[in-house]
Amino acid sequence: MKGVRHYPGFLGLTILCLVILYAPLIVVMAYSFNGSTSITQWGGFSMRWYVDVFTGPDAKRFGQAAWNSITIALMAATAATIIATAAALAMVKGGRFRGRGASFALINLPLMVPEIVTAVASLIFFTAIGLTTGYGTILVAHMAFCIPFAFLPIAARLEGIEASYEQAARDLYATRAQAFRLILLPLLAPGLASGWLLAFIISLDDFIITNFVKGAGMETLPTAIFGSVKQGIKPNIMAISTLMLAVSVLFVTAAYLINRKGRQTP
């Protein structure tokens, strides 16, 4: 039988898909180095819009938004990783308990729920309990929706660690706590790192939920970009977008590499 490569039109279809997926990104990246103020006319290579991002009239607003985004992402990813680790330990190493299947579904359900629904529900919830929307509500919402993203790589890694390592440690006079700290945690580290990185990126990129729960005057980088684009696309937005893309690619690649390295030495 011939491989799928030999079907007529396969090459064309592949190229079409790649173009649709990546052409817009490439255009944005290319025009972020455009020398002119136009977003359609090429005016020669220049770094002026990158300089503009850090020194131009919008620099202060974007700087504050970026600061909010990064601090929220750091805290949300850390909190989500800790909670996800506890959940994964209970699910994978906790033996069989009532409601194990239901717990698994509940942890992963947020991945399936339409984000707009989560966003509306979060806003209603925060209003109902009388929280003023702002930095705090964004942080709480981010912690919550990052948990399943951190959970998946951590649980997958944990499942790959045989029970005999912990037993060997216990057998060699380690207490439960020592066996966890000295054996399980180091073996779990690649899963923790990729779970944290994934949660960080998900938090950093989030727009819909953030937009609902951020409250007036509070901006993260995605909402600031959206607000700016509403008044017309300026080339500095392309520079900011390219920077965010670079950070995302960097983190996702790191998560992938860490996970792959982890698998080589199980």
């Binding site: 037993q167 060997a168 440690a169 057998d171 060699l172 006079y173 180091p186 030495t265």
Partner: protein
Amino acid sequence: MTTAIDIRSVVKTFGEFTALHGVSLDIADNAFFTLLGPSGCGKTTLLRLIAGFEAVTAGEIRLFGEDIARLEPNRRPVNTVFQHYALFPHMSVIDNVAFGLKMQGLDLSGRRARAGKMLEMVHLSAFADRLPSQLSGGQQQRVALARALAPAPKVLLLDEPLSALDLKLRQAMRVELKQLQEDTGITFIFVTHDQEEALTMSDRIAVMSAGQVQQIGTAQEIYEAPSNRFVADFIGETNLLEVDVHQVHEGRATLTLPGGHRLSCPSALVAPGRHSLSIRPERVTISDSAELSAADLSATVERVVYLGSDLQVLTRLADDTAFTIRLQNAARTEVPSPGAQIGLHLEEGAARLLAD
């Protein structure tokens, strides 16, 4: 002789399934003791109960007199060599070996000295700073041994540790394990399903089946005098014949072999009746058809299998029962040809009546 481990009526159930039905065993100090049985017989469960990875459902496990059945694994002075070694992949060889010593609170220089000595014992001093993944299977096996022996346990538990090695290495390790046991003077409890392994290394063997101990004895005792059908069948090759026992008198039984020949053999059986007779294939000599009347059994040769040092002769008795004979492949061995009628002569003590 001091008893190292005294297992008293230990029962272990997993939900509906009963893995051990009231097992009792005495294991002497400074012995190489083997738990032998097919997979699922409960031997590994028993080992895990001694180590403390599972909790007994009922019964006592005494270690030099002290009941340890309900202690956490880190409070039991026994160490385990795991089937797949379970070496900590993120630690160097020397750190793996020193782990138990560290947990016991030994200082760094003391740990290094003791772990170094253990590595020397297993001929791996040159590999101290490698990671386990950089070692071969046989080397990992030695590290696992050194790690488990480093804290000087009172008893060493070995869970099928040779099963992952290739044949040559496995045979070499058998000798080395037995030597190690004698040198250290530590009681080894060795779990295996490989009877050859059990027979070559053990001082005593407990044959297990279906969660029960079938027979305990030296290699020779369980091979030469199996107490029941299961043991006779599981240990080595054997021919099992159904025979009529007519008379039992002063420890000797008189019986009729298929084909009518009468035989007298030693037996602990009390009642005459229909019983199984076990005959080891290597305890039979053959003669050609001229001497058929003098033979204990007569058979037709079906096939001769060449095994190198031995020849296996597959025959069929007059009543259609399959019967296997092993002949040494010596220069003067006359190899019977398929289809030939031969006489089978049982050596003295070759036949053994079984209780069930």
